[in-house]
């Protein structure tokens, strides 16, 4: 009990030094938390992908399309329930800075397969009826202030020209990690226009999305689909949606490793800061510990005082760090919402906070405690600060 009281008072003896140490722990932990959240949001698309959906694309590259005629052949494969398809459109809204993903899709099957994009039946019908209609995610519509019935132009990049769409529905995500910043319009509208302007590029799709009857047999179905088109003009590569999403992300694996390394460095830095504080503190109190020893206080109690103080500092930083991570992530998510549509703090990272703070608290105290115990009373008493 006494040790606890002493630890508490000792910790705030040098208010400025302790506060700065705690502050640096908070900053380091929050930075670590934000970096981890960046990685998580990077993978958010993967986590959100369904196990019962497959993606079929051109085996050479995603840049090359597949004939529309593959649709019926894929549908005939054993185990396939639904086939949808679409193109990455790559349109720009007013300015390049306003980036969001936009796709030309087959409206009926696409929303049937991706039931995590929730539309009211009225919106769904209105979208299907309007050839030039489009559907936007709630977050995207909010960002640009689009209302149902609004006309929205996109400037084509892959498919040149100026394209007009009318907002017919705003979808909500079913899950917390559903991306609400996507833009979908009729594949038919794109195709009709291409038939007139660039007939060679018509009747081609960028990808097929395949719904399987039994997710457990998904792999068999991927093999079966690719076998059909073996040795044809456009061979296919079919994989689960998860694997497909990962193939995008893997391009940035180096970035992710870099971020992981940085977060490790952050931990090492707070270790150095905390260790320095404890070393200074204990060195200053050498004579005081000698007095405690003179009065009969043993190594155990002295160790408890030093470890207690070190842990009190790091754990205070930990608690404040946890509390401040939420507002920090909120601000970060708002500022970078375009790049990270799903920016949600995963509470599991706080286990890392606590673990790191305990580790740093203990590590920072080891050497000072060992020194404080080892020095003889006679030597300690001779120390004048």
């Amino acid at each position: 009990m006494f040790i606890l009281k002493l630890v508490l008072r000792n910790t705030f003896r040098h208010t400025l030094r302790t506060s700065l140490t705690i502050l640096s722990i908070i900053i380091a932990l929050v930075a670590f938390g934000l970096l981890r959240t960046v990685i998580n949001s990077w993978y958010a698309g993967v986590d959100a992908s369904s196990a019962s959906r497959l993606v079929t694309r051109n085996a050479i590259s995603l840049m090359f399309p597949l004939p529309l005629s593959y649709r019926d052949k894929i549908r005939a494969v054993d185990g396939v329930k639904t086939v949808s398809y679409g193109n990455w459109f790559g349109g720009i809204y007013k300015d390049r800075k306003n980036f969001f993903a936009n796709f030309a899709v087959d409206p009926k099957t696409y929303f049937q397969l991706n039931n995590e994009f929730m539309l009211t039946p009225e919106e769904h019908d209105a979208f299907i009826r309007d050839r030039k209609g489009f559907v936007a995610g709630r977050k995207l519509a909010k960002k640009f202030g689009w209302k149902i019935g609004d006309s929205v132009p996109l400037e084509g990049t892959i498919f040149p020209g100026s394209w007009e769409f009318v907002l017919r529905g705003i979808y909500k995500g079913k899950e917390k990690n559903t991306d609400e910043s996507l833009f979908f319009f009729h594949w038919e509208y794109l195709n009709e226009t291409l038939r007139k302007t660039m007939p060679l590029r018509a009747d081609k799709v960028g990808f097929y999305m395949v719904g399987v009857k039994d997710p457990a047999r998904a792999v068999d179905v991927t093999v079966a689909i690719d076998r059909i088109f073996k040795n044809s003009l456009a061979e296919t590569l079919t994989e689960t949606e998860k694997a497909f999403q990962l193939s995008f992300i893997s391009m940035s694996e180096a970035v992710i490793i870099a971020i992981r390394l940085v977060s490790l460095v952050v931990i090492i830095i707070i270790m150095a800061v905390a260790a320095n504080t404890m070393a200074m503190t204990v060195r200053e109190r050498t004579r005081e510990y000698a007095v405690f020893k003179t009065l009969g206080f043993g190594a155990f109690r002295i160790t408890a005082m030093i470890f207690g103080e070190s842990l009190l500092i790091t754990m205070t930083g930990c608690v404040l760090g946890i509390v401040l991570t939420y507002p920090a992530a909120g601000a970060f998510g708002r500022a970078l919402g375009d790049y990270f549509p799903i920016f949600v703090v995963d509470n599991n990272i706080f286990t890392v906070y606590v673990g790191a703070s305990l580790l740093v608290g203990v590590t920072a105290a080891v050497l000072p405690a060992w020194k404080a115990i080892r020095i003889t009373i006679a030597e300690g008493l001779r120390r004048i600060e």
């Binding site: 006494f2 008072r9 004579r287 009065l295 009969g296 206080f297 043993g298 008493l381």
Partner: protein, 229 residues
């Protein structure tokens, strides 16, 4: 006032030597010292700076161990005790007064005096009683909630004296207790030590190089270059 009859020696020092090692060089500090201190004695140990006074005091008080020779205090050969045994022995037999008071700055006067009792297993109420008594003895009952920084040097040294006597040890050791005090406060502290010796029968060993302080003791010994005269 207590009767001043002499009893047997409470401290028996036999042929002790002590040297320090510095950069592989051996620096002898005490050489073959033998002497006794009687129970109830008030001894002043004088000598120039660096003559080994603190070293000798630390050995008698069980803060350090001699290279050779034996020290018996109250019949116990303290050099033969284990580290923790020695710590327990110190806590119950010796009270310490230092030049720089050495109070814990984050503890109040009361808490500083209570410090040695925390290891004694006394109840909270008993501790409170002892501390009140000790602070009353040094006339600082009204300052018990003050922190060291709120007290003058003389007051801090009196708190330190209260801390030294609160466990009721037989021996008090004081290393230059007036070295950092002004005349008036020094007189105060010396008067207090005199009373502890006369009224409570404490054996006091006072290290000082101040002749005025030594004048309050009833016996003075000189240590010059590690030799006692």
């Amino acid at each position: 006032m207590r009767d001043m009859e002499r009893k047997g020696p409470i401290v028996e020092i036999r042929n002790i030597s002590k040297s320090y090692r510095r950069d592989s060089q051996n620096i002898p500090v005490l050489e073959d010292i033998t002497f006794d201190i009687g129970e109830g004695e008030f001894l002043a140990l004088m000598g120039p700076s660096g003559s080994g006074k603190s070293t000798l005091l630390n050995l008698i008080a069980g803060l350090d161990r001699p290279d050779s020779g034996t020290i018996r205090v109250g019949g116990v050969d303290i050099a033969s005790l284990s580290e923790s045994g020695l710590a327990r022995w110190r806590a119950s037999h010796v009270g310490f007064i230092f030049q720089f008071y050495n109070l814990v700055p984050v503890l109040t006067a009361f808490e500083n005096v209570e410090l040695p009792l925390l290891l004694s297993g006394l109840s909270r109420r008993d501790r409170r009683e002892h501390v009140d008594m000790a602070l009353g003895l040094v006339n600082l009952s009204d300052r018990m909630d003050h922190y060291p920084s709120q007290l003058s040097g003389g007051q801090q040294q009196r708190v330190a004296i209260a801390r030294a006597v609160v466990t009721d040890p037989a021996i008090l050791v004081a290393d230059e207790p007036t070295g950092d005090l002004d005349r008036v406060s020094a007189e105060d502290v010396l008067g207090l030590m005199d009373r502890l010796n006369r009224e409570l029968g404490k054996t006091i060993i006072l290290v000082t190089h101040d002749p005025l302080a030594a004048g309050r003791a009833r016996m003075t010994r000189h240590l010059v270059k590690g030799v006692l005269t």
